[in-house]
């Protein structure tokens, strides 16, 4: 097959490309330039897509022996991912930009362009497992549970999965690094990138303040009584304990957490840990990996990239999915994605609109 591999400059996509060549595919590597103002050097584990990353990807392509190009998707990334990220925070929600990028950029813009240019599939270094059941392509967790990235791919549907390849599905990360070293890839020991790729200093609050400015508002307790002030509700996320700067301790002396954010009146509600407990999530904009479901079923729900899968009862009807967790969970933020599984099989995803 003619396969396009998205090469970030990291070790995973480099090994993915190498394996595809070994499998006999006609492989072309592409680095996605997503940052309008890329930094020259990669600063440790933070950030991605600096010029150094681009060069690392190029060198990996040289060693693997495949053609290599750089595609400038910075404008689209700015609109679809970065602006969306800022808008979600402005609306008091906590977005997941990696999901958005997979949904709008990697498995949309890049995949479509690749297919139009004659490629048959897009491969990445994601840790996820694709299987087939008849005509249906199934998305499952990768063998390496700690690295499993099926969550961020949970928004993909059949049209995308049919043309996707994840060569690292069955290999633990440590082994991937060893393989990279054995293949002579200089990125074998390059640190993985964490956090958000377009916030290279890791300071999300600072990034949002630059984007949204300071909008002073009140911090209130569960009864609506003001207990402090803040410089912008976008600087907070549900479940947050640090950075509240409340000055006056709670009457019971216990730590307070962000329970809710209201962008409309620019208030942040804080309270005791118990207030974070969530049993029910009302989710919107469902996507389905395979066939759409209606009615009730039981499954496992994950609400964070490397969060615990939680047993739950799910009910899909009228464009919404209501999730009732068997056991309460803490600090679930509206705006995040809920991805549901049958064991290791991804069923679908939706956006958490409200919790209780």
């Amino acid at each position: 097959m003619r396969v396009l591999v998205a090469m970030s400059g990291g070790v995973d996509s480099a090994v993915a490309a190498a394996r595809l060549v070994d499998d006999g595919h006609e492989v072309t590597g592409v680095h996605l330039a997503l940052n309008r103002n890329p930094e020259a050097y990669r600063s440790g584990a933070r950030g991605c897509c600096s010029l150094e990353d681009s060069n690392d990807a190029r060198r990996a392509a040289d060693i693997v022996g495949i053609p290599f190009y750089v595609w400038d998707l910075s404008e689209r990334f700015a609109t679809d991912v970065v602006d969306d990220f800022v808008a979600e925070y402005a609306a008091g929600r906590t977005p997941n930009p990696c999901l958005r990028c997979n949904e709008k950029i990697k498995f949309a813009a890049v995949l479509e362009r690749g297919l139009a240019l004659g490629f048959e599939a897009l491969a990445t270094g994601h840790y996820a497992h694709l299987t087939r059941s008849g005509e249906l392509v199934q998305l499952r967790r990768a063998a390496d549970a700690a690295k499993d990235q099926s969550y961020v791919l949970g928004v993909l549907a059949q049209e995308q999965l049919r043309h996707s390849l994840f060569p690292l599905y069955g290999t633990p990360k440590a082994q991937v690094r060893a393989e990279a070293a054995a293949r002579g890839l200089p990125v074998a020991h390059k640190p993985d990138s964490h956090d958000i790729c377009f916030i290279s200093d890791g300071d999300t609050a600072g990034f949002l303040t630059r984007a949204l400015g300071e909008r002073p508002g009140e911090i209130v307790d569960a009864d609506g009584v003001a207990v402090g002030t803040h410089a912008g509700s976008h600087q907070f996320t549900v479940g947050q304990r640090r950075g509240l700067r409340l000055g006056v301790p709670a009457p019971d002396g216990r730590p307070r957490y962000v329970l809710a954010i209201s962008a409309a009146d620019n208030t942040v509600t804080v309270g005791a840990r118990e207030g974070l407990a969530v049993s029910t999530m009302r989710c919107i904009r469902p996507t389905w990996t395979g066939e759409a479901r209606a009615g009730e079923w039981r499954g496992l729900v994950q609400v964070r990239a490397h969060g615990e899968p939680m047993p739950a009862r799910l009910t899909a009807s009228g464009g919404e999915v209501v999730i009732e967790l068997d056991a309460p969970a803490s600090g679930i933020a509206p705006g995040q994605a809920a991805v549901y599984y049958d064991d290791d099989l991804v069923v679908g995803a939706s956006t958490i609109a409200a919790t209780s």
Partner: protein, 375 residues
């Protein structure tokens, strides 16, 4: 099998040049040394200088060897700006120069004047007359534009420059071997050439500096090349440049006719495709074809043609591997989409009909896919 249509970016080393260069590459000697080995190296260097001068119709004392066209351009622009700074702070360069001239001028901030070009891609004398005055140290207009192949009125602009006391420079990197280049009859004070564009080795070029011109050097050291370009002159490379330049101008009429024929075949083939507009002109360089492909990204066409074995270029600069829209086409009044949807096909000493055939055969399918990818 691959088909190389990017000679404007560099031509393969001519076999005769490779032979000559390998014959002397192991010879020892710094041409500045006074002993026997040094004198032998010096003799080889001066022989190369004389032969290059003859090929350019210049005097040997006017040849300054540099590391390439870029350095020659920088030396011309910044050396003139530095030498004449008091009294003549300004430098006028055309809007379609290679980055080696454009960026050198840009480094001078508001001392640099950018002279617009007509939509045809040819410089307009009226614009130059308006831009030049007695505060200008230098006028710089390339002889042949490396992206579109448009031949520029360098002698006429040199006259305008002299009328106000400014020096005249021309970047002839894309001109040498394709249009007649005679330094003596051009009226120019400064001329840049590059070896690897005419089948010589990469890493060597020359700035021709008219006798008596007091150019300022940009770097300092042993004072080689009349104090203008310190550093041990790479004799082997200089010989390579001289050989290549001689070969390039050996049979001008025949080569121009041969290349022009290939160019015309390609141009005619392109004109027959839907949505394709030529940016290169019939009176332009015989070695360059430039076309805009409506509704396509140049990047996509490049990838597809590359996959089909055809090497070509967008002609414009890359930043971090990402092609920028062509500044030259933007200066000619094209839109950003047009300036991002254009390709350059360029010919050289090793080009044959097979190259034109391969390109024309690969284009229709590449065009169709590139359209689909941009939908």
């Amino acid at each position: 099998m691959r088909f190389y249509l990017d000679h404007a970016a560099g031509s393969p080393l001519r076999p005769a040049v490779a032979d000559r260069v390998s014959a002397i590459a192991l010879e020892p000697g710094n041409p500045s040394s006074l002993h026997s080995a040094g004198r032998a190296a010096r003799a080889r260097l001066e022989d190369a200088r004389e032969r290059l001068a003859a090929a350019l119709d210049a005097h040997p004392t006017e040849i300054v060897f540099t590391s390439g066209g870029t350095e020659a351009d920088n030396l011309a622009v910044l050396g003139a700006a530095r030498a004449r700074e008091s009294g003549r702070p300004r430098v006028a360069v055309s809007a379609i120069e290679h980055p080696a001239v454009a960026q050198a001028a840009a480094s001078l901030g508001d001392r640099a004047v950018r002279v617009p070009v007509a939509p045809s891609g040819v410089a307009e004398l009226a614009a130059w007359a308006a831009a030049l005055d007695a505060t200008c140290a230098l006028a710089s207009l390339m002889w042949v534009n490396n992206e579109t192949g448009a031949v520029q009125p360098v002698s006429a602009v040199a006259d305008l420059a002299h009328a106000v006391g400014a020096w005249a420079h021309s970047d002839a990197v894309a001109a040498l071997g394709h249009v007649p280049v005679s330094f003596a009859s051009s009226g120019l004070d400064l001329l840049s050439v590059s070896a690897h564009k005419v089948g010589g080795p990469v890493g060597i070029g020359a700035l021709v500096v008219r006798r008596g011109l007091e150019l300022a050097p940009l770097g300092f050291g042993g004072g080689q090349e009349r104090l203008l370009r310190s550093g041990t002159v790479p004799v082997t490379l200089a010989v390579g440049l001289a050989c290549a330049a001689e070969a390039a101008v050996a049979e001008p009429a025949a080569e121009v006719s041969r290349l022009g024929g290939l160019r015309d075949r390609i141009s005619a083939g392109l004109a027959g495709l839907p949505g394709v507009t030529l940016n290169s002109r019939p009176d332009g360089s015989p070695a360059i074809v430039n076309a805009t492909f409506e509704g396509c990204r140049a990047d996509d066409l490049l990838l597809l043609l590359d996959a089909a074995g055809v090497d070509c270029s967008t002609g414009s600069a890359c930043t971090a591997g990402v092609h920028q829209p062509s500044e030259v086409l933007l200066a000619m009044g094209r839109t950003r989409a047009q300036a991002s949807g254009s390709l350059r096909f360029s010919l050289g000493w090793s080009s044959t009909d097979a190259d034109a055939d391969a390109l024309l055969a690969a284009l229709p399918d590449a065009l169709a896919r590139a359209h689909a990818a941009n939908a």
